[in-house]
Symmetry: C2
Subunit: 434 residues, 2 copies
């Protein structure tokens, strides 16, 4: 059986996919019995230098030629963005073609609409590469855990911020130095805003939560905090306490509630997630029957992403070759959850505050915390720091689990004391075991 594929978008990722298909055509056929034939490639720029060369006759600047080709069964959308990419996906589905995309921004913005269209047209829309690059997390959640129930997930889903945090932790670099090195090495874009402010991780959490919890996610309800304001001091105090700071995308589900958050988080240094370094991504799932499970790999780059795109492509090619009928259930969220405010969640917290030296200060602070039902599990009081004229005493506190609303109220009161200086730093703590 031969399956014809049209590729739209022949950039870095597209080049990786073409390279994989060229180099592994034989093994793909032996493994699946299907010949995957890359029939046509569309890109606005036919001239730019690429990782692989293809026959010029395969190429076109007009993606509509691919849509209009009745022999093409599957369209790969690797344009990126939400403009042309959306037109490609919509017109391909409308032309009764299956679609594979690596486009998280597109899914974040339009997944309900696109899933509905996929069901209406009875054509698949696959997106393994859209979250965590080469890690097969979409398949794990939708197929391997199809019979299980996921309670919580913790993801390192942004390679740029994980690289920056690794350098802060291991090399004691400031955020700014780590970011500029990441840019030099190509792990951060010229404008890194959407990475460092947590926006990119939020888009991915949105997609993961949709499938893990079978729910529609109102992604503006995801509490998001980036690492742009993270102080090296806090990374180092965390280390002293046996914790590593990671930007985590966290999704939890209990009763009728779903809680979705992206923020820098202290996790125990001995857990496997803590050792996921540099540009690597990882997702930990907690499910009822399997328990804790962890998936680690490269979250970006042409080749890892190509691996995920081709995995989708193989699934669809096999499905075409074996005359499988379309099953709409994959694309139909059926749970109705309320999205709970992060203020309602219970969590442990890391607090760092600065006080002026005066007897009984710790008693005042711990009383305020106690009044808000917050217990302390660890405390470090440091020697005086700062210039002679404005010396302050840094106090670092780890709390036991507390309601976030209470914690923030207590901190507001602490910050209003005339013995505290500046705003207390608040970071979340998650006691991950695996």
């Amino acid at each position: 059986v031969k399956v014809n594929v049209g590729l739209v978008g022949f950039g870095v990722i597209g080049g990786g996919v073409v390279s994989l298909l060229q180099r592994h055509a034989e093994v793909l056929k032996l493994r699946s019995g299907v010949e995957i034939n890359l029939k046509r490639i569309a890109d606005v720029d036919l001239e730019r230098p690429r990782e692989v060369s293809v026959e010029r006759s395969l190429m076109t600047t007009d993606f509509n030629e691919i849509i209009a080709d009745p022999e093409i069964d599957i369209v790969l959308e690797l344009v990126g963005g939400t403009g042309i990419a959306k037109r490609v996906v919509v017109s391909a589905l409308e032309a009764n073609k299956h679609v594979v995309t690596a486009n998280k921004a597109l899914l974040h913005a339009f997944k309900e609409e696109l899933f509905r269209l996929s069901v209406k047209q009875k054509r698949e829309l696959r997106y393994e590469a859209s979250v965590a690059g080469g890690i097969p997390i979409i398949k794990v959640i939708t197929e391997s855990l199809a019979g299980d129930r996921i309670h919580a997930m913790y993801g390192i889903v942004n390679g740029t911020t994980n690289f920056i945090l690794t350098k802060m932790i291991q090399e004691q670099w400031s955020f700014e130095d780590a970011l500029s090195t990441a840019q030099d090495l190509g792990f951060a874009e010229a404008d890194p805003t959407l990475d460092v402010n947590g926006g990119d991780a939020t888009h991915k959490l949105d997609i993961l939560a949709t499938i893990a919890f079978n729910a529609q996610v109102a992604s503006d309800r995801i509490y998001t905090e980036g690492i742009q304001a993270l102080d090296l001091k806090d990374v180092l105090y965390a280390k002293e306490l046996g914790y590593v700071v990671k930007l985590l995308a966290i999704g939890k589900q209990a009763d009728e509630h779903m809680s979705l958050r992206v923020h820098p988080t202290l996790i125990p240094e001995q857990c496997s997630l803590a050792s996921v370094s540099n540009e690597f991504n990882a997702i930990m799932l907690q499910s009822e029957f399997l328990g804790d499970s962890l998936y680690v790999g490269r979250g970006a780059g042409a080749h890892p992403t190509a691996s995920a795109v081709v995995s989708d492509l193989c699934d669809l090619a096999l499905s075409i070759a074996s005359n499988q009928e379309f099953n709409p259930h994959r694309y139909s969220p059926f749970n109705e959850y309320t999205t709970r405010s992060h203020l309602e969640d219970e969590s442990r917290f890391y607090l760092r505050l600065a006080t002026i030296e005066r007897p009984g200060i710790l008693a005042v602070i711990t009383k305020i915390l106690g009044d808000h039902d917050i217990s302390i599990s660890a405390i470090i009081q440091k020697e005086l720091s700062g210039t002679a004229s404005e010396q302050t005493i840094p106090i670092v506190i780890l709390t036991r689990p507390a309601r976030e609303g209470n914690l923030r109220q207590a901190v507001t009161e602490i910050d209003a004391l005339d013995v505290t200086c500046g705003k207390t730093v608040i970071l979340h703590v998650e006691d991950i075991e695996l």
Copy 2:
């Protein structure tokens, strides 16, 4: 659509599967559109206490009633062993039913025969639960990496030995103490031979290598070394050098060769694999496009195993519901590799030898190593140890990559010196990065 399932073997794992199907029937139907109906359960013992209760009318002591029932589409073989289990699988396939098994011993012994029968009958034989319990490693290798090429894999695939090693590393217990605690906690069987001697890991490596390298594996060619002779001293010296000792199942493929080994291995303490502790399993894959990826989870237990069994069951149920035709390629190894002897492999090594005190000993030993083309990357010479009458000096050496045959020849010469006492301890080192 309703799919009828017959379960043969209602023990601990079977109980987990029934529990999952009972508790998640609704969500399974919502996710897949298929109703999975557990129609009949066969077990020799209908009376023993179980995790779940089922209607007595579903149960029988004769598995042939399941095989003979034309309405049953899928048979779950959860008997274990290679006797009755084989008869169940063979007769189910011959009766044109799909089969799901969790039985690694059966696959190890008969997979070629059973895969051939599966292809002949055009019925699926799925076995996700047979390796690493709930970790979806079979699906990852056969589906997610279908377009990639795996060069190497490193697996912690035996929970018993990983538990024992964790206690030796973290608590400095001897092998014997750790084993007896593992037995008390139910992580080791009364007769732990097949776990501690590496046999169980070898069976799993056999299955993993078959699918990762698309090859027939002559499993008697797998070099196997257990942990039963592992000395706590070596675990602690390894730690001093920044390494953790794990029992790894290692498969590598290059050119026309496949190298398959199971042995205690030093891996860097900061890699993610090193932090996989206690009864957890993990498999790290190195593939051409995805690069390094790691999969961690519970490798045994009723619930994690049930999760894997039901994942196979859902795949088959969906495939039945969507009228998918059978694809034989999944079960057809096409690569012809020679299995290379471990003596031909290159690796780094850990050596511990005991010498009597005499000037120039280190020079003699390092000369012998040098003569066999073995360079040293680290060395620790300790103070005198032992009773006054037989004091020896322990010397610990880490080598650079060397051919194993050369290393063993050099060690034979070193052990024959009259200044060395006893046999030199040899352990493999793998510089895993992820």
